[in-house]
Symmetry: none
Subunit: 200 residues, 2 copies
DNA sequence: CAAGATAGTGTCCGAACGACCACCCGTCAA
DNA sequence: TTGACGGGTGGTCGTTCGGACACTATCTTG
């Protein structure tokens, strides 16, 4: 065994992540033994300490349990087909790691996810069931996709300028352009989109 | 006390969310007592059962612990300017940072993010610059969007069945259907999509 | 008013928990 | 060659955990 067998830990970390995905919690030492095939809880405890040093888990503020860090959720970003499965080490080395939340949400306190209803933006690749990432209190410019409040309901449209006035353009020829009578009330600007395929 | 005192439960839920934000875990019954001022663990247990019925928490698959549901992270309606027909928006900020990652990724150890190049899937609302969430080692069925390896490069196409053989169909009439000569090598199945607007 | 449901108390128990210690055995550098 | 280090076994200990049961007080409804 090499002095630091991080390859094996990468496999352990993968199993830990899978467990977390289903149970949303770092398992107990005993359950880690089951998951990894350890016979002793000490091995599990030492594994967690190693992962803590590597920055994947940390203690809760009370210090009585473990919780994941941001790094725990990072996913590899594949640029080119990585053949011949280079076994990923815990130290990273290969492909960039990536956190979707980081990528999409820049101002957490002002960001909301809103489910899309209807197909008025279908030609822009936004379909019913998608989630749009909406940043509130952000100046909107023509060409932005915005969530506006029209007749006390939320509408997702493209903000456009028409003869010096803001209008809401659908991206589907079957829908009419909305020309607001008075002030146009904008809830927020769309900064991202999330879609899930084959979901349950 | 009313038959269902949901007002008080809303306060409890708020405290539970605060705790979760710091410890990333549903507290134990005893700790719930401390948090809420209960004197008996039974009260804590019943509270969790109420919240389960309301859809905020659920049991882990093993049934030995509690975990939050997606609803747990919903921003309280009072936080958004209350309007008729407010959209059900998920997540505020103060809940959990890693919500989108969890929404998209179910098997972390087998999931990779792949950037999209080209517009061969434009009619399916997948554009250049998007990121697709790819789950590897997963049986692909006709109709799935898959990332295949053709000539040592990634290709994103729809898997289709044509006269008993698998073919790769683009979702853009400008591109031809790919009929692989020999074995079709599938890298993984697309289970999600991420897009960012107005990126820097 | 009475019946029933609801929020919470108090107490018990067995199982699971994490902390700790002594020990084993490869690997690797001095 | 030898000693330090790192991953792992095996077992003990006191604590905490969740589940169960009996009971109280309050509010709602018929």
């Amino acid at each position: 065994m090499p002095a630091t067998d991080r390859r094996r830990d990468a496999e352990y970390l993968a199993r830990l992540r899978d467990y977390y995905a289903s149970a949303h919690r770092i398992p107990s030492l005993q359950r880690i033994c089951d998951l990894m095939g350890f016979a002793s809880k000490t091995a599990a405890k030492k594994l967690l300490e190693r992962l803590e040093r590597a920055g994947f888990v940390e203690k809760t503020p009370e210090g009585d349990a473990w919780m994941p860090t941001e790094r725990f959720f990072e996913r590899p970003l594949a640029a080119t087909p990585v053949r011949a499965g280079a076994p990923d080490s815990i130290e990273g080395a290969q492909g960039d790691l990536f956190l979707v939340d980081r990528y999409l949400i820049r101002q957490p306190s002002r960001t909301v996810l809103v489910p899309v209803k209807g197909d008025s933006m279908a030609d822009a690749g936004i379909y019913e069931g998608d989630l749009v990432v909406v940043e509130r209190d952000r100046p909107a410019r023509a060409g932005d996709f915005v969530v506006a409040i029209v007749d006390d309901a939320f509408t997702l449209k493209e903000l456009a300028l028409e003869e010096g006035r803001f209008v809401l353009k659908p991206r589907n020829p079957a829908y009419p352009v909305i020309r607001p009578r008075g002030e146009l009330e904008i809830f927020g600007v769309v900064t991202g989109l999330v879609r899930r395929y084959g979901a349950t």
